[in-house]
């Protein structure tokens, strides 16, 4: 077990800047997700921690030891790769035991650990198989078992579920969470899927353009995004943004007014589930263009004035496309952003 300290780590590929002085601390036993769109630098950061990439600046400290000059094998880490990277010329058992055999552990110990890891991932019946005969989900389990078998101080995962189909991903996600909780391993987990990050992580670091935009518990960054980007990236449907102008501490949207943190141009961040559909006479005036029944709720797509917006309504609500309804927002759950900088505005 160990903590990870990422201290002002920077990385440039020639003239292109991939990471700009990123700092992040992961506590012992904590699960932190690096979340961001492709090209945001999250995989680069993970590979620098793994030692598969060299940083242009800054340092990485694992368990109190600066690992900057150490090769991957000396860092006390294990890694799960996006394409599994299960060795095709070894059986499942040999794959899982690979790290232990490289450490020259006694044969009985290797066998015991392999058995334990396989049991945790529920692949004990596959130990004699060759990877070519496994499904994607099974290979993924082998890759995770191989990583856990060495009982690493730090576990690094690079989009481990992105190659699985949706149903399998859901199942594997729950299994992964249970297994990692049991193992108590410090984990750094890269993903572009916000539901994965929300569901798995103790804390999420949202990355964008080579910087960490916000670090926090999933609930906290969901409810109080620090930037417009974070608000738009987390949640499904994404947060709505309405540009409006405020004077005298009140922002006007159509005929509706809300308490705003500052005067002038402000941007309201409103999540679909944070506004209740009401009659056309009250609330924010919303012209519904499309109604999509999602089962648990109706997804409404339309516009406020000329600004697009998505809202949700109870599944039995009688709302027809083309109708104008009102949306009554929950004042406690609103976010305000500076339209220029995209930063969050706190109420005065």
């Amino acid at each position: 077990m160990a903590d990870i300290l990422i201290d002002r780590v920077a990385k440039s590929f020639g003239a292109a800047r991939a990471l700009a002085e990123v700092s992040l601390q992961v506590a012992d036993g904590e699960f932190v997700a690096l979340l961001g769109p492709s090209g945001c630098g999250k995989t680069t950061l993970l590979r620098i921690v793994a030692g598969l990439e060299t940083a242009s600046g800054g340092r990485v400290v694992i368990g109190g030891r600066d690992v900057g000059a150490l090769p991957p094998r000396a860092r006390g880490i294990a890694m799960v790769f996006q394409n599994y990277a299960v060795f095709p010329h070894m059986t499942v058992a040999d794959n899982i035991g690979f790290g232990l055999r490289m450490q020259k552990r006694p044969v009985e110990e290797v066998a015991r650990q392999v058995g334990r890891a396989a049991e945790m991932l529920r692949i004990s019946h596959l130990l004699d198989r060759w990877p070519a005969r496994l499904s994607g989900g099974q290979r993924q389990r082998v890759a995770v078992a191989r990583a856990l078998a060495v009982q690493p101080a730090v576990l690094l995962m690079d989009e481990p579920l992105s190659n699985l189909d949706a149903l399998l991903r859901l199942e594997m996600r729950a299994d992964l969470k249970a297994v990692l909780r049991e193992a108590g391993t410090t984990t750094l987990y890269v993903t572009h899927d916000q539901t994965e990050a929300m569901g798995l992580a103790d804390r999420i670091a949202v990355m964008h353009g080579g910087v960490i935009e916000q670090i926090g518990a999933p609930g906290a960054i969901y409810a109080r995004p620090a930037t417009r980007f974070v608000g738009g990236f987390l949640g499904s449907p994404p947060m709505n943004f309405l540009l409006c102008s405020a004077s005298g501490g009140r922002a006007a949207i159509g005929d509706f007014a809300l308490a705003a943190p500052q005067d002038g141009a402000v941007m309201l961040g409103l999540r679909a589930e944070d506004a209740v559909p009401v009659g056309a006479a009250e609330g924010i005036p919303f012209d519904v263009r499309v109604v999509e029944p999602m089962g648990a709720h109706l997804l409404l797509t339309g516009a406020v004035g000329d600004q697009p917006l998505r809202a949700i309504a109870p599944p039995d609500a009688a709302i027809a496309p083309g109708a104008r309804i009102g949306l009554r927002p929950d004042p406690a759950r609103l976010s305000w952003f500076d339209p220029e900088t995209g930063r969050r505005l706190e109420a005065a």
């Binding site: 793994a50 030692g51 394409n83 490289m102 070519a132």
Partner: protein, 272 residues
């Protein structure tokens, strides 16, 4: 074979197999007949497909001819050295080209190919002079060096695409789980590359075994089998030529058989 094949498809399948087998085996069989079938059979027409009499006399006589055994040995040495050098030099170059982006990689590839742009005569004659100076002339090792030059471009390019086909993540996984780069290569990359390396070895072997011009120019007494046969056979009786021909064919076939295990290694699909 797929058990679900219809009878018609099965017939077609086996017909094709038979035609291909005949295409390859019939000439070898006829040469063998000429070598072992006795003097009369060589001149018999139409040929019978079964030997009228089996006789090892020609082959024994041929092998007893002075120089044949030595030439055979020289050929084996030259081919073996060529195989080892081509793979040992070609695979690292291919690996470097596949894994690292470095200045001059394209120029390097072009240079490697350029060695094949020169006619063999232009390479072999100055080499003969050079080899005489440094004492490599008239030895199978000198011939092997020449053959390595011929085989190396293919070895480099084939192994490059071979290594490019092995995901980098497999190597990275090996590094993460305790391997040094060298260990990762021998434990993960090399086993996966074996089929391609076997093919590269076969190619180098065949190039060396069949090459006759450079071998003729670079040797006088220590001829390789091809060079020796070229010089001797035109003055030999027909059945001796067949014996020589068979001796030329067999080692290639045996070598391919020896490495075919690695040529078709697919883990977990065909087993090992």
């Amino acid at each position: 074979m797929n058990p679900a094949m219809t009878p018609v498809r099965r017939l077609l399948f086996w017909t094709l197999v038979a035609v291909l087998l005949l295409w390859v085996l019939l000439p070898i069989w006829l040469v063998a007949m000429g070598a072992f079938g006795g003097r009369a059979a060589v001149f018999q027409w139409p040929k019978s497909l079964l030997p009228a009499s089996l006789s090892f006399d020609h082959m024994a006589a041929f092998l007893a001819v002075e120089g044949v055994a030595n030439a055979f040995l020289n050929s084996v040495i030259a081919a073996a050295v060529t195989v080892v050098l081509s793979v040992a030099l070609g695979a690292p170059a291919g690996y470097a080209l596949a894994r690292y982006a470095f200045r001059g990689a394209d120029a390097f590839k072009l240079l490697v190919l350029l060695t094949r742009a020169f006619p063999l005569a232009i390479l072999a004659l100055p080499l003969a002079v050079g080899f005489i100076r440094i004492g490599l002339y008239d030895s199978p090792f000198g011939v092997a060096l020449m053959h390595t030059v011929l085989a190396l471009p293919f070895a480099v390019l084939v192994t490059q695409s071979l290594f490019m086909g092995i995901p980098r993540e497999l190597e990275e996984a090996a590094w993460v789980f305790g391997c040094s780069p060298v260990q990762a290569f021998f434990r993960v990359v090399m086993p996966l590359a074996l089929p391609g390396l076997a093919a590269t070895a076969i190619f180098a072997f065949v190039i060396s075994w069949n090459e006759v011009f450079a071998a003729s120019v670079l040797t006088v007494r220590e001829r390789t089998l091809t060079a020796y046969l070229l010089a001797v056979l035109s003055e030999s009786p027909l059945h001796t030529r067949f014996a020589g021909g068979l001796l030329l064919i067999l080692p290639s076939v045996l070598f391919v058989f020896a490495v075919r295990k690695w040529l078709f290694t697919v883990w977990g699909i065909s087993g090992r």
